[in-house]
Symmetry: C2
Subunit: 108 residues, 2 copies
DNA sequence: TATAAATGCAATTATTTGGTTGCGCAAACC
DNA sequence: GGTTTGCGCAACCAAATAATTGCATTTATA
């Protein structure tokens, strides 16, 4: 839990992914998040710490409560990485539709 | 290295991500892949095993060589998971452009 | 002001991970 | 036919990870 700390490692854990979905639309406290899962508050706290380290969540202190919410901008990094593969599958899709349209033309 | 085996855990490792990029456009043998990194063939083999288990790569045997390549369809699963967040950031983008266009109109 | 609530932080532990080493087994090559 | 090459597989090991437990600290509340 020390060295590696990137966004891909962060979303590798299913609990962390669930947390991200949970706080995507509304800020939540650690206690409230923990209640949603079968985990302890401390465990949630650790996950949030990891998410914070790679800037996936932001926090807002309100009295003794801390509200955590998703830093949506950071999620774009995954999208960016994925785009190189998206290019490939889109290219294949176009190839396929090209073939189909050629077949259609030939039928005429 | 036994129980959990999903695509997010698979792409958590930087070496595995690099392998995926490497074999995205051309099928490669374990030896050829290992030469690209600072790892042993066996280490690569293990990574490929993990990638195979979650169906991210396919293989084709040619004599004593095995060519591994990316199963691009599986990558769409990440895209699918990401789409729920994409909705959010696109919504915010539209909100922003709406505000900007309103300001522009008011200026006129 | 004492007590309860909300949280972070450190120490500990069991499990998982990534890597190495050492096989064994086919397929190619001499 | 013997040797080399390309692999996978199993055992082993050090490091990382996820979770628990036990505090300490700050902010509400009675």
């Amino acid at each position: 839990m020390e060295v590696r700390r990137d966004i891909f490692q962060a979303i590798a854990d299913p609990t962390r992914r669930a947390i991200l979905v949970l706080i995507a639309t509304q800020a939540m406290t650690p206690n409230a998040i923990a209640e949603e899962f079968h985990t302890s508050r401390q465990a949630v706290s650790k996950h949030i710490q990891i998410l914070t380290e790679c800037e996936l969540v932001k926090q807002e202190q309100k009295g003794r409560e801390i509200y955590y919410s998703l830093e949506i901008e950071k999620m774009k990094e995954i999208d960016k990485w994925l785009s190189q593969f998206r290019k490939i599958w889109e290219a294949r899709f176009h190839q396929l539709t090209d073939v189909l349209s050629t077949m259609k033309k030939q039928k005429k």
